[in-house]
Amino acid sequence: MKRHRSPIGSSALGAIEMAKSLLIISRQAPWSGPGAREALDIALAGGAFDLPLGVLFLDDGVFQLQAAQQPGQLQQKNLAANLQALPMFGVDELFVSSVSLAERGMDAGNLSLAAQPLDEAELSALVDRYDQVITL
């Protein structure tokens, strides 16, 4: 079974190898409620502390990856811009459901963030790979 690699050297490795891996499933549209923001905040906080984690955009959550949004009109923080920071926070394992994309007429090749599209079978394999799963 694939385990998560640690990006840093041996000194801090003991603690990190013991950390449980976490998959955050983000299922809400960006502006429908606080869910999308909360999922991202967990991912950024976990990334800042080097926890092994991944993010899966599922159902309406795929709308977060829609390019060319104009959140300024809602006077909210720009979720799309914040999402781009995930790789900087060490969160490189980004996935999106290809079924959810197709249902909403979205193209995996035209997303605001490089998330790997997965079909249904790959999704269940993905969920199995993580020690813990949070859905928001």
Binding site: D41, G47, A48, A81, A85, F89
Partner: protein
């Protein structure tokens, strides 16, 4: 809440000493904020402050320490993008102090 006097201007700060309004930032404001921290800004400080402002432009948030190091390494190379260099420049708390001097909000994911 307090205010910072810069020349003839008065700038509002929050309870942690960060700018209330990010639009108030200028190089003079950065110098005044640094003076409050007993810090003299060198060109090495400035390149990090400018990088932080660029980070904020790009991602609309203040980086915690790890992303700050990663971003600095990406843009300025690993001899600048490491915790030793950044800790030395910003008194051991680069994410917090550099964000303050660059006029950014306090980073949320920092201890």
């Amino acid at each position: 809440m307090s205010t910072l006097t810069v020349g003839s201007r008065s700038v509002a700060l929050d309870k942690d000493g960060y700018l209330q309004d990010l639009g108030d930032w200028s190089r003079d404001v950065a110098h005044a904020l640094a003076a409050q921290e007993d810090l003299e800004l060198s060109p090495e400080h400035w390149e990090v402050l400018e990088l932080l402002r660029q980070f904020y432009q790009e991602f609309q948030l203040s980086p915690a320490t790890r992303p700050l190091i990663k971003y600095t390494a990406l843009k300025l190379g690993p001899e600048k993008g490491n915790s030793l260099h950044l800790n030395r420049l910003f008194k051991g708390t680069p994410a917090k102090l550099a964000a303050k001097l660059a006029g950014l909000p306090k980073p949320t994911n920092c201890i």
